[in-house]
């Protein structure tokens, strides 16, 4: 493989990822509206196209055609940059996710992730992928924080203050909850973490690795990081109008929206990779005879089924739980999740050290 082929593969992967991800985001929004509606005993959007399936298209046209209002007293450079920062960082972090093993395309070994190195002879994945994703998540605060500050509105400012404090607090629990998985896999590479869980469902970190406490810490901290119910205080609509994006309209608002849903997809992907065996089938090791073509599709199928479940979980929880009070949120993060995460590290490393 030479440099030209590497660049061609990279461009194809970027285009595919953008197309699939943005379509998925549009339809996740539709799914959320439909599922929430059914949970509340109503129909949800069903007028545009059959079953409302063209609703995302109509929403997209509305976002593009709407007047892009920039309020008078905003600090313009940051007001315009903030939604871009949010969207770019969320796309960056999802580009590091391996969506399956590797494919052989025309004799070339192509790993199924968008960001990968060119070693001079082939494509190699990044071996500190998890750390880079954590780094990008920790910078992701700036999109929210700067948008609220530059909007020059008290609701936005309060929203962004809440967001920065919340994101810093929950990042600790998020990072520490992953240490158990790292200890089990002995690597920071997402691909190697998944490979360590291959073989059977009992080798998945959630079951065989006894990381279910870490998983629940991770999922709660990640919900706080993505500003979703029950942690959606930065945009609490009953208190702050819409929080940090109150003053945004049209495409700039849509960028925040897309960033939030991309982050949801990333969280689902990471939960799948780290705790639920990634693209490995739960039926592995049972020796069920399958047709050859299934072996090619199977990794992608299982990966997307698992990610779909996590996205459904987001919606399910949104339909179920009320919002935290702010002091409860802080106490929950610092006094419950953080000590629990540290205890999980201690127990996991003790078991690993004492195991023969």
């Amino acid at each position: 493989m030479n440099l030209t082929q590497y660049i061609v593969f990279a461009v194809i992967k970027i285009a595919l990822l953008l197309f699939i991800l943005l379509t998925a985001v549009a339809y996740i929004v539709l799914m959320e509206r439909k599922v929430i509606a059914r949970m509340q005993n109503r129909w949800g959007p069903n007028r545009v196209g059959p079953f409302g399936l063209l609703q995302p298209l109509a929403d997209g046209i509305k976002f593009i055609l709407k007047e892009d209002i920039v309020p008078d007293n905003v600090y313009k450079p940051l007001y315009i940059a903030a939604p871009m920062i949010a969207l770019v960082l969320s796309l960056l972090s999802i580009s590091l996710i391996p969506f399956g093993g590797a494919w052989n395309v025309g004799g070339y070994h192509v790993p199924l992730e968008t960001t990968a190195f060119w070693t001079g002879t082939g494509i190699q994945d990044i071996n500190i992928g998890l750390l880079i994703i954590l780094g990008i998540t920790s910078i992701g605060v700036y999109g929210v924080a700067l948008s609220g500050w530059s909007s020059n509105s008290k609701y936005s400012l309060l929203g962004s203050l809440r967001a920065s404090a919340q994101l810093i607090s929950y990042e600790l629990a998020l990072g520490l909850s992953l240490v158990g998985v790292l200890l089990l896999a002995g690597s920071l590479s997402l691909r190697q973490i998944v490979d360590a869980q291959a073989g059977s469902i009992l080798r998945w970190n959630f079951f065989g690795g006894f990381q279910f406490i870490a998983f629940f810490i991770y999922i709660m901290a990640a919900y706080a990081e993505t500003n979703r119910i029950p942690f959606d205080l930065p945009e609490a609509e009953t208190e702050l109008v819409a929080g940090y994006h109150t003053e945004y309209s049209a495409m700039k608002f849509a960028m925040f929206f897309m960033a939030e849903y991309c982050n949801m997809v990333t969280v689902g992907c990471l939960a799948t990779l780290l705790f639920f065996g990634g693209w490995h089938s739960p039926l592995e090791g049972l020796n069920i005879p399958v047709p050859g073509i299934w072996l090619v599709i199977s990794p992608l199928f299982w990966f997307f089924i698992k990610v779909f479940f996590f996205i459904f979980l987001y919606i399910w929880i949104r339909g179920t739980l009320p919002r935290f009070r702010y002091d409860q949120l802080m106490a929950f993060g610092w006094k419950f999740l953080l000590p629990l995460a540290i205890a999980n590290i201690v127990v996991t490393s003790l078991v690993l050290a004492l195991r023969p």
């Binding site: 940051l78 071996n127 500190i128 750390l131 880079i132 954590l134 780094g135 998540t137 920790s138 910078i139 605060v141 700036y142 924080a145 700067l146 609220g148 500050w149 400012l157 962004s160 203050l161 920065s164 404090a165 994101l167 810093i168 990042e171 990072g175 002995g186 920071l188």
Partner: protein, 166 residues
Amino acid sequence: MLHTILFLIFGGICVAGALNFLLQRHPVNSALSLIVVMGSLALLFLLLGAEFVAAVQVIVYAGAVMVLFVFVIMLLNAGEEERTRGNKVALSLGVPGLVVFFGLMCWTLSAAHSQLGRLQIGDYYVPTTDLGIALFREFLLPFEVTSVLILIAIMGAVVLARREQQ
């Protein structure tokens, strides 16, 4: 070759960010240029093959410390700072001092230039496992002492914050 080009790019961004940090009048702009400095420092670490240090630089400094800075600036709603005409003592001592410092640095580097080797990407690659083994075997005591130091600093901050409340 590539190493030199990348070093010049990120070193340049780093210095430009640091200068912008001093020249900007609004604290938020200064804080943002400091984030740029942190980010380009992380990339310089990465160029030297220290991938873990680079990631931690982004997570801790660009992510956590600077978010706190921005948080405080937003919370206090700090306005634009005023410009003065400068301190005459600082000007008369600082400029010659700066010239002497840069002259000394250039002289030392050019004197040692013949003994310095060439660096290429991947020459000093340190995997995270090696770093962990070094930290927890050879440098265990300094590592633990540093963590105790940070713990004391945290406790000091808590004590100070409590006293103010009463």
